[in-house]
């Protein structure tokens, strides 16, 4: 099962070009943490250390191509613009995963499957229309999912011996008219 809106899955057109460079830069970055709490064990993640730093080497490499990708998405959805608030990577070795969560301080969040070897798990989510059906995104390596912040989702434990690497970012959109102005009664 897959909800077709307002969830967007699109291929990142520069994936093949950037994949190995991005993995090299991510794997050579010295700042990251292992994140462990109930239901979650993320092997390497630079959210705690660098999420607001847009000058990391791997971020500078991918920033403009990602903006180009998102420009198309925003245009299709009739948003005037968007701002990426935070960007980070997550790596999962065998048995690691990320428990059910949402992203409360943004409008949309994104997952780019940078390295998704065969057998590594895809992101799951709970259908918010019935609050119980567990669904799986129909994605493959190189895809970018963009979905609303309130979608409850998780990365199931990685049962593979291979490492899964994703890049994620949060963004806020600008609606056609500014929200926050006074209403006319």
């Amino acid at each position: 099962m897959h909800i077709s809106y307002p969830i967007t899955i699109r291929k990142f057109q520069h994936h093949e070009l950037f994949k190995n460079q991005l993995l090299d830069l991510i794997n050579s970055q010295e700042t990251y943490e292992r994140i462990v709490h109930e239901g979650t064990d993320i092997t390497k993640c630079d959210w705690p250390t660098n999420k607001d730093d847009f000058d990391r080497h791997w971020v500078t490499l991918i920033k403009q191509p990602l903006i180009d990708h998102l420009d198309v998405w925003a245009k299709d959805a009739n948003f005037l613009g968007f701002i990426i608030n935070q960007i980070w990577f997550q790596q999962y070795t065998k048995s690691s995963g990320h428990g059910w969560h949402t992203h409360p301080n943004c409008h949309y969040t994104n997952v780019y499957y940078l390295d998704l070897p065969k057998g590594c798990p895809k992101t799951q989510y709970i259908d918010p229309m019935d609050n119980k059906t567990v669904c799986e995104f129909d994605v493959e390596e190189g895809d970018i999912i963009t979905f609303p912040n309130i979608l409850l989702h998780r990365a199931p434990p990685n049962q593979s011996d291979d490492v899964k690497t994703i890049i994620s970012w949060n963004l806020n959109v600008t609606f056609a008219q500014a929200i926050g102005e006074q209403n006319d009664y």
């Binding site: 009739n78 918010p128 609606f175």
Partner: protein
């Protein structure tokens, strides 16, 4: 059915609803309400408040509207407000009928989020919203029951009015329009 319910209790829980309610109470206590409409309707577009709770509520409204329409639409505008009221400020209900379809250039989907109902309200069937799908003078008016934590989504062109007040404690709803 003219309306649909969307249950967001799994993601917007009681602690969040209490914070939303407190924000509305603060806005009204600071005088941020319309003086030419029944007491007390905020004159602030509450979805613009910069907290995670309001952001989540806004996104849940947008998603509910897409689900109601069975498609994702290009949003032209979103407006939102909150309404705090009780028997202390009861008005003649016959003057409360209205609709939200004011712009001929857009279509409007509207929503009511049932934020807080006082515990002494006994008839929840009449505490939500009354719809008049065939107009105020037409047949077939009915009540949408109160469902805390749900968005009730309906076409903005439908005439409606708040449910029957039954308590001297405050009832809170959030209302919103999505124009496309």
């Amino acid at each position: 059915m003219d309306y649909e319910f969307y249950d967001w209790n799994n993601l917007i829980k009681e602690d969040s609803r209490l914070r939303l309610q407190a924000d509305v109470a603060r806005l009204i206590s600071e005088g941020n309400y319309f003086t030419n409409s029944p007491k007390f309707q905020t004159n602030v577009n509450v979805f613009g408040l910069q907290t995670a709770d309001w952001n989540n509520l806004k996104m849940s409204f947008i998603w509910s509207c897409f689900a109601f329409l069975n498609r994702e639409v290009q949003i032209k505008n979103i407006q939102s407000w909150s309404y705090q009221t009780s028997l202390k400020h009861a008005e003649d209900r016959d003057i409360l009928w209205h609709h939200h379809d004011h712009d001929p250039n857009t279509k409007t989907v509207s929503g009511v989020y049932y934020l807080h109902l006082p515990s002494d309200v006994e008839d929840t069937e009449k505490a939500g919203t009354e719809l008049a799908p065939n107009g105020v003078e037409g047949e077939g008016k009915y009540y949408v029951p109160w469902q805390t934590g749900y968005w009730m989504i309906y076409p903005g062109k439908i005439w409606h009015r708040p449910g029957v007040l039954q308590s001297h404690d405050d009832r809170y709803i959030v209302a919103a329009d999505l124009e496309f």
